[in-house]
Each structure stands twice: as structure tokens, then as C-alpha cells.
Symmetry: C2
Subunit: 430 residues, 2 copies
């Protein structure tokens, strides 16, 4: 029997406390599975006396996580502090300097500093594991890094934020507005008091940038992710989506082609026949497409203490068993710098909803704007008739380039009979 | 840069040829991901001159796989011969004796000999990897063995046979009979000339026994799997299932409780709201439930040269990277021998379809039979009326024990107004 793996946990929020609980409850099971014990030896948080439902008396206590990373008699530091800089970054840097492995759930930190941290960790010969940073309990990091290693992965996409998926699911099922459902989600604890990281797509963008690096062997390029959240999704668009055979989902999608690296997070119209259309509520799902394996889908709870702790412990188990793979599938010094494809170059089909006064010639003017930009209309439907009040006109287009679409919409927005800015949602080809 | 991993491939059917092709095509990628080359050095098959779309001239050729396992200058033997005994078993035994790692896609072999082979491999210090044996390209073995290692897994279930799922999907979409769709599937190459291993549930049972061992740390107990295939599924049952809000799927389900180990493969009524109800065609999907992670779902192509080769190569990548975990999640000498729960003790709800002459008292007699066995009826519907020809009567029950249900059905089958043996499909609580 080998020496125990000694673990220092920085941050005792929901995930930190869940991790400590899991390691205590499954102590014997993990011993059997790993051939050695997984022992928490030290913990760090701001307030020692806060009740977290766990007994921290048996562990060395540090008020300062950086000091713990430097000084604790531990093999691994679990970073669950959060934040893209500050103490989280300093804790990881201190752990690497002290020759300790790192396990983190911090997507914001990795999206910003992942390439540099991975290079430093690999040079120091320590692991930088982050299964919990993407899609909670769903083992998509391991899948991309190990299970699909025999494939050229050309696309990875999915539902990466449980809060947004919960809100969109509730909006669809109840017909209520975004603001209404958000307020309820906040009351229920499914959304933060400041929801912008979730609902503006930032959290999903962090995760997408990690998936892209893992899948394609490219340097992290978080700043190049096109990001649009779900605040603009309205009940009427959800209703029209249903009529057209779609559901609206916030997807993160990354693709590497000879044109370059495309990374996008925005609401999408998804065909109801596709499995991803049926991933509802707080669930996350990721689809990875490889040249030999074809489509593989991974689904589960994307957040919460239990699922996220499960992912943290999976990373600890890998370290305990001596399993080591390059942080982003290939050595961090050999990650490629991809050509970045700007969103203007995105090609796809579009759903457009206009609010239009039903006056002679308006449809001709709209059609002319699309024709001028060589955008081909696939379908059009108009609801109601009123020359004095706006009525909805919904169009779908064939595949076109984003830049052309934007120019056509700018022209349409100028028309006097078009009484509010056009609503546009991209139709996703899956 | 380390030494290449030298690979000997036994069996050059679809999967063997696919594996050789993948390793050739992704040579540079695998070198980058593993830090060493993956080199095929030897191959074995019955007929050297058969055209397989691959050039075998560069590899040492063996007519005899056992001899190759013994003598080839290889680190790993990939066993893709198939069959539960014979040359496949002898090849694996020879590889272990020669200190070579094994990668296999052979579920029949492992279902029969997995515990003994794992013990021998672990004692010899070699890997016995079998990702490709369950659900083709879907990395469920790695998920159970590694990603969910922090969880007590209490249930694992799924769609484990693509041929059956294809047939059931076609039957549902077209209303055609089992025999008709099977014949078409055989013509299209989706089903074997002798389809019994697939359609009688044997292949799914092999896979289920492997999943149970991985999930629960129990010795393989293939002989204890309750197996019923899909030959008895009729278009009328599929139609009634739809009316009742269900789809019929062939599921394999394993559960470990204090009552014992339950392993079952049979057609199930699955609520259409559940994700598994939407896994159609040749796709496989497995759901694993852990106490911390809760539900996780893994879906992809369950067969075919590309997806299966992807899984074989994932196992080779693990070996190349020095990743080693116990074959069935815990050391093979410490696998538990579970109490086996017989099918008579299964508890669940049931769908029953009777063909009944519409005569006075018949419903009373049927109801009495259920009452005598304390089976509680949830719903009943009768279609059409005819005192001289049979009409269908469909019932669903509340949860009951299989033994009670069987006794009630035996009694009902004796009634003179019941003109064919009762049709029973279990309703699955997911």
C-alpha cells in the first residue's frame, strides 16, 4: 500500500465543502480504487468559524491560501477560491513553485491564464487538472484528453451553462418573460444575485475556450470568443421557434477548419429532432465530433456541490493513481496558435423577426434589402394585419455570411415601416 | 522522446482494419499526444491475401494469433478475433504469459473469462483494456473506472445493442413487423446473417455484465443476467406504448442494493420524457447514477469500424502514456461476489396486453386473477367489441413483484375467453 495522497483544499464554498464531505464519506472506497488513501490535511477559507456542515478541526487551518500552497505538507492543492486573478492565481502559482499538483474548478482563471499555468505546471512536473471547470460532473475533459485521443476532433459544442438552460426551459414551458423567470431563479438559488456572468454568456465562453484548446491542441483564445447572452430572448421568439420545429438553446460552439478557429456563444435555434434540443433544466451536455468516433454526447448536472465535487475527486483519483496526461491534450509548449475567424465570417442560416406596419410595399423593401446582400430567404410568415400597429413578420434564411446578414439588417432597420430593431437568432446546423 | 509502443493486431475484420487505418492516419497526432509513436509491428488473420483496404506488407505476418502473442516483438496485443473461447482466449492467455498488454473489444470473452483474465493480467503487471467492448466509441468504461471513481454507483443502464435499437426505431417509425425490419437490416448489413446474438439480447447481456463489474466492483456474473430479446415485440405494442406516453427500448439495467445484484436485459416501456427514449437508430447510450454526480449520460455510435477503432486506440493511448488502473475499477483479486437477485424478485410496473373475447364476466375474471396475486391495476383500455373474435385489452399495473405478476398471468392464460398467451412488457422506472 502506497503513502496517502495528501490534499490541501483552498476555498470552502459549496464545492469545497462538498469535496471534503465526499472524501470523508468515500474514504474506504477510494482506498480500494486507488490503492492508497486520499487524505485532506489542510484547508483554507476566509472565516474559520462559519458553519459549512463539515468538521474542519482535524485539518491544518490557513487563513491564507497562498501560504497554504507554499507551506502545507500536501501533495495536491485544490483551488476552489474562484476569480480570474487575485488569490486563485497566486495560489496556483505558489503550488507550482512548491512542486505541488493542482486541481481546480476555476474556468475564469484558466480561460485567462491557462496556457501559462499549464506551461509552468508541466515544466515543474506537476499536474494541472480541471475536470470540474467544464460541465460540472460530466467528464468531458477526460473524454477529450484521453478517450478521443485517436481522433482529429473538428467540432465541440454544447449547453455549458445550467442557469441559462434552466431559464430558457422555464420560459418555454411557462411562456413567461426572461426577467420574470430570472427573478424566480434567483429566489430559488439557481441564479446569482448578480447574474451577468451566467446570463450574458461569459461563463459559457470561459468553458468553451477550454474545450477548444483540449479538442484542437490550440492555445487558449478566450478573448476571441464571440459572446452573446440570453437577455434578448423573448417568449414570442420561443413560440415561433416551436412553430418552425426548433428550440432555443444557449450553445457554445468551437470548430477548427482551414478557415481558422471559430468560437461562439449565443442563443441558437436547434432542430427539435436533435438530442441536444431535449437537454433541459440545469443539465449540461457536450457533443464532440471526431473523424473516427463521429458524434459522442456527454450529459449531466453542470453545477452543484455533489456533481462538481465528483469531478474534483476524479482529478484527485487520477493523481493518486499516477495518471498523468498533458494539460490540454498535448504538451503546453507545443499548443498551436490558431488563426482566429472573426464572427463576421461565420456562415449559417438565420431566423429574423421584424415588427412591421402592414403597409403597401414593406415586404418588397425588406426583400430588396436581403437581395442587395445576396441573402436568400427560405420562408416568411406574417401574423395579423394592422397598418397602424406593428405586426410580427418572421423570416428564415438559407446559409449566408454573418457580415452580409448584418448589412441587410442595418438597411432593414432604416425602413420607416419597421418599428423596432430586427431580432435575429442564428439557426444552428448540427 | 520515449520508445515507440509496439502493437500486434490479432484479427483484421472491420475493427482490426479500422484500427490499423486509424493508427496510420493519426501517426503524427498520436505522437504529439502521447510523446511516443504508436507503431503496428505485427498482424494476424486467417487469410493473408484478402483485400481489407490496408497494406499489411510492412508488418510481420502471423497465421496464428497465439504464436504472434507469444513471439512478436510487441508491447501490446490487440485481440479482435472474437468468440468467447478458442483462439481469442488462447491469444489473451499467451499475451499475459509473455508479459504483453492486452486491448480487446471482445465482450463475449470477457463476460465468460473476465475475472480470471483480469487476475492473471494484474498479477503479470500488464493491462487488460476493453473500452471497445461496450458501446463502441462511447467511453463508458473509462467513465466508470476513472471519472466516477469518487461515487458509489448504484445503477447503470442503457441501450447496449445498436442492431436492436435500429430495429425498434424502424418498427416504430414505419409500423412494420419485426421480421420485416430484421430482413431489411440484414440486407443493409446492420444485422448479421445469424442475428440471434443481437436480437435475443445476448450481446447486450455480455456488455451489461461488464458494466456491472466496473460500476459495483463485483465479480462478473454473466450467467446471472436475465435475458429476453426483442423477437416478441409487435407493432401493436409499439402503438399502445405511444398512446400511453412510452417508447419501447431494449435496455440493459444493473443495480446493486442491499437486496442483491440485479442484472436484466429485456424490452422496456420508457417514458418519452426521458433522454434515453430519444436515443434512436444505431446509437447506444449508457446512464450511470452515482451518489454525488447523480445522473450522467454517454451516447454515441455503438458499432462500426471507425467508432470501435477509436475506442481501441483510446486504450492504446492509455498504455502508451503509462496510464494504468485496475481492470474492473478495483484490483481483480478484491472483486466482491454479490448476492444474485433472481428475476422473480424484480419489482416494477407492467404493461399487459391480452387478446380477449368480449363476453360477459371476462374483465371480472381478469381483475380477480390480479387481485388474487395482490397486483394493483393502474389503467385498463379495451379496443373494439366482438364476442366471437379477440379484441385487445391493455392494462398497466402499479409496482409489483415479478413472481406475483407471473402467477397472475398464468391464471389469466387459463381463462377460456383469453384467446392467446398474455403479452407482457415491463415499464421501467428511470
Amino acid at each position: 500500500m502506497s503513502q496517502p495522497l495528501r490534499i490541501a483544499v483552498a476555498g470552502l464554498g459549496t464545492v469545497g465543502a462538498g469535496t471534503v464531505q465526499l472524501l470523508a464519506k468515500q474514504h474506504e472506497l477510494l482506498l480500494r480504487r486507488c490503492g492508497r488513501a486520499l487524505e485532506v490535511v489542510a484547508v483554507s477559507a476566509r472565516d474559520r468559524n462559519k458553519d459549512r456542515g463539515i468538521d474542519v478541526a482535524g485539518y491544518a487551518w490557513y487563513d491564507n491560501a497562498v501560504q497554504m500552497a507554499r507551506e502545507a505538507e500536501a501533495d495536491v492543492v485544490v483551488e476552489l477560491i474562484g476569480g480570474e486573478d487575485g488569490p486563485a492565481l497566486a495560489t496556483c502559482q505558489a503550488a507550482i513553485a512548491a512542486g505541488k499538483h493542482i486541481v481546480t474548478a476555476n474556468k475564469a482563471l484558466l480561460a485567462r491564464h491557462g496556457t501559462a499555468l499549464a506551461q509552468a505546471a508541466e515544466q515543474a512536473g506537476v499536474a494541472l487538472n480541471f475536470e470540474a471547470a467544464v460541465a460540472g460532473g460530466v467528464p468531458i475533459v477526460k473524454a477529450l484528453r484521453e478517450a478521443l485521443a485517436g481522433n482529429v476532433v473538428d467540432r465541440v459544442y454544447g449547453i455549458l451553462n445550467g442557469t441559462c438552460n434552466y431559464i430558457l426551459t422555464e420560459m418555454r414551458e411557462t411562456g413567461r418573460s426572461f426577467d420574470d423567470v430570472l427573478a424566480e431563479a434567483q429566489a430559488l438559488g439557481f441564479a446569482e444575485a448578480d447574474p451577468s456572468t451566467d446570463v450574458d454568456g461569459i461563463d459559457a465562453a470561459h468553458k468553451l475556450s477550454l474545450l477548444a484548446s483540449l479538442a484542437f491542441g490550440t492555445e487558449l483564445a478566450y478573448d476571441a470568443v464571440y459572446v452573446q447572452g440570453i437577455r434578448g430572448v423573448t417568449p414570442i421568439d420561443i413560440e415561433f421557434a416551436g412553430e418552425l420545429g426548433y428550440r432555443i438553446k444557449l450553445l457554445g460552439s468551437a470548430r477548427l477548419t482551414e478557415r481558422g478557429l471559430e468560437q461562439r456563444v449565443h442563443p441558437c435555434m436547434v432542430d427539435t429532432d436533435k438530442p441536444i434540443a431535449h437537454v433541459d433544466g440545469v443539465y449540461n451536455a457536450v457533443i464532440a465530433q471526431g473523424d473516427f468516433v463521429e458524434d459522442t454526447l456527454y450529459e449531466g448536472r453542470g453545477a452543484g456541490g455533489g456533481p462538481t465535487a465528483s469531478a474534483v475527486v476524479a482529478d484527485l483519483v487520477d493523481i493518486a493513481r499516477g495518471q498523468r496526461v498533458p494539460t490540454f491534450s498535448v504538451p503546453a509548449t507545443s499548443l498551436n496558435r490558431a488563426t482566429l475567424l472573426p464572427m463576421d465570417r461565420h456562415r449559417g442560416a438565420y431566423y429574423i423577426r421584424l415588427n412591421v406596419l402592414d403597409q403597401p410595399g414593406v415586404i418588397a423593401d425588406i426583400s430588396a434589402a436581403f437581395r442587395d446582400e445576396a441573402v436568400s430567404i427560405e420562408s416568411m410568415l406574417q401574423r395579423g394585419r394592422s397598418p397602424t400597429e406593428g405586426v410580427p413578420v418572421v423570416l428564415t434564411t438559407h446559409t449566408t455570411e454573418e457580415a452580409q446578414m448584418r448589412r441587410a439588417l442595418d438597411q432593414i432597420a432604416q425602413l420607416s415601416a419597421v418599428v423596432e430593431p430586427p431580432h435575429m437568432i442564428r439557426i444552428e446546423e448540427l
